[in-house]
Assembly symmetry: C2
Homo-oligomer: 418 residues x 2
């Protein structure tokens, strides 16, 4: 994409109403537009990041047999009365009435709808097990929002629901979900800790995936073993340890940290299937309620978390992990558009995602914007570089001049290393 | 995908509450699940069709320079008061209040939000022209719904907005949008008529893309010229002709038909930019309001329209155009899973989308379901076909036995012909 044509503008000043690092950077870099408190529009650069995150999540959910569907935002009151959640979860619901006076809410989660679908379709143990997921816009009527895109009123989630004939069958899938989640987060460039947690409104059987960082909303106790081999971590909500304690698993030292919860997995047992009479016939011909699990990943939140972890305040820049960067390569022409355009065409022909700054601006302005945007690889074509018949390539803080003809080879080499 | 693992069930009976051909077929074939009147969940097969439609729309909008973003469902009252639409369009709004008493609606369209974004970002004629689109879930508080997925309360739309410095510059894009729309509809297998129409709440400058069929909600007068060269068509709303008249363009005969509006394009002039004070500095340094257009395609509606046009009631089947079929090939094993599985693996290795019926059901049950699902190419491996060392291939009502080793070649040949 030529930057002269890209629908985007950066801002020099920090937005007055930015409530977080992630919102400040994403707004200033032209990735998102603040619509109202807790709701952001995704502009072309931001949407590219989000789609890459979505596709990583899709790929990893498909690997463990997840099948994608798309459920509804509008939810009829009757469905949520079946599980007694119409009144109880009222504080996070957006409730409304349609023109006929029918009461609705905007779905903050989809256990009710998926169970309604499954009870209409699946009747036999032969249909089990299966797991269904969607990537969908969710709504939470948060009284206050203060963390930018980390906690919004309108945001994208991947939510998956598993159905099994028994707790044993359920556990098999639950245990497959854990490495699939780690694969997702690794590809997003995020190191997550599997953390024992309370199930909130669900049950006591749950795990959260926490990214440790000062700006997290949760308090996490984890083992800081010198060998890094112990995976003990507990949310404060249920913690049996405190800072400085010995780790009950390995004898290492317990540390306290803040965490951003970027994913969670719950065993639901028959909590939803039983009241909704979602049953199947087991091998013996007996009616049984489905044993369920649910598995969430915040898509918008994942993007915001990456910003929080990877921004560089001293250089005023974002740094995107290669797999979710809006463009892998940022090609910057310093008044050398004839040569730059040739390279741009060559990169595109070879399916390399490239943002090409072809604009008539000063080097300083171009570099400042490129810093903000944060593509992992930068190519600069200048009079100076061309004198050496070359291009300046910067990547991972290494800068070198390489011959123009070697750019493709170099990019491919670096890509393989990842 | 192995059909034994696919999250899907067909139904033999027509759903009692089906209000249309499209809903009846899509529900019975397991493509969608009815959630409530006017809202359907997309199950795996239905979501595959929708994603293919979305990608065709994306490709064609990108060709004419459209850039994709994603705006918000929640809309604050203040924004819609700027254009005086909070009260006037009240009949199709879902309105609600959040926990702080703030008034919101669920977006049925996005002129207000896109103008708000653009006025924050774009200040100069140098930024113009551009066109921005999104594919997003829309909401309309319809008092009655009676056409299945043709007219829902919650549905997917592609909406694009163009911004120009003058009416002349606007017209250039408007005229590019028309062939782009025809390309979309052609790839969807739909023959559309460009129809003059009133702009509804917008202005008198608009065109609709109408698919002529008995079940359409609109009345269309069009020229039935014997040479098929005249493109005269008008919506009844503004028609200057009636059935049997001479076509004012070519002298042919005017016919009346029902139409399904699957797309529309509007010239908006400064209708939204002026009240919202969305201005840029023109070449002379003078402040001007942006000249806008908007361009819609109903994504969910397009799927429903294809069903209405292509279903075959005598054979109780759907027939998907190849480019949007949930799977291109339906491979059916009649108790020959060892041979079928080999072919299945070969097709997948060669990136051919194949649904493989590996289930332990009778030939009759398998064929009835395959008819309902409606993949364009069917391969049957049976004892009979294997006796000839072959596979039965049916496509476009032609059935033949071909050697197993030729299947790939045959599929590729047929694909090129499209």
């Amino acid at each position: 994409m030529k930057q002269s044509e890209l629908f985007f503008k950066t801002r020099k000043e920090v937005p007055a109403d930015a409530d977080s690092i992630n919102a400040s950077y994403l707004v200033r870099a032209g990735f998102v537009h603040k619509h109202m408190a807790g709701a952001y529009a995704l502009l072309p650069l931001g949407l590219r990041v989000i789609k890459k995150i979505e596709n990583i999540v899709r790929e990893e959910m498909n690997v463990i047999g997840g099948q994608e569907i798309l459920m509804n935002v509008l939810q009829p009151r009757e469905l949520w009365e079946e599980t007694d959640r119409w009144e109880s979860a009222v504080d996070i619901f957006y409730k409304l009435k349609d023109s006929r006076g029918k009461e609705l809410n905007l779905a903050p989660t989809h256990e009710e709808e998926i169970v309604d679908i499954v009870r209409d379709m699946m009747k036999s143990y032969k249909d089990l097990p299966f797991a269904i997921y969607q990537i969908q816009t969710k709504f939470r009527n948060e009284p206050r929002v203060k963390s930018g895109l980390l906690r919004g009123r309108e945001f994208l989630m991947k939510d998956m629901y598993s159905f099994a004939e028994s707790n044993e069958q359920h556990q098999i899938f639950y245990k497959k979900a854990i490495p699939a989640y780690f694969s997702v987060f690794k590809r997003l460039g995020l190191e997550a800790k599997l953390t024992e947690a309370s199930g909130g409104i669900f049950s006591k059987y749950s795990h959260e995936f926490q990214v440790l960082t000062e700006v997290g909303e949760d308090t996490i106790f984890y083992c800081d073993s010198p060998t890094d081999e112990c995976d003990f971590a507990q949310n404060k909500e249920i913690a049996e340890v405190k800072e400085g304690d010995k780790c009950p698993k390995c004898g290492g030292t317990i540390k306290m940290s803040r965490g951003i919860e970027i994913g969670n997995i719950f065993s639901l047992k028959d909590k939803f299937s039983k009241p909704m009479k979602a049953t199947f016939l087991d091998k013996g011909g007996k009616e049984q309620a489905f044993i369920m699990g649910c598995y969430g990943i915040g898509i918008t939140r994942a993007m915001a978390t990456v910003v929080e972890i990877y921004y560089d305040v001293t250089k005023n820049k974002m740094i995107w992990p290669a797999e979710i960067a809006p463009y892998k390569v940022h090609l910057i022409s310093l008044n050398q558009n004839a040569e730059a355009e040739k390279l741009y065409d060559e990169l595109r022909k070879n399916n390399i995602e490239v943002l090409y700054d072809d604009r008539d601006l000063s080097a300083g302005e171009k570099f400042a914007e490129a810093d903000l945007i944060g593509c992992p690889t930068r190519l600069i074509i200048s009079k100076k570089s061309l004198e050496k018949n070359g291009v300046e390539l910067s990547e991972n803080n290494v800068v070198k001049i390489i011959p123009i003809n070697n750019v493709l080879k170099e990019l491919r080499k670096n890509n393989e290393g990842r």
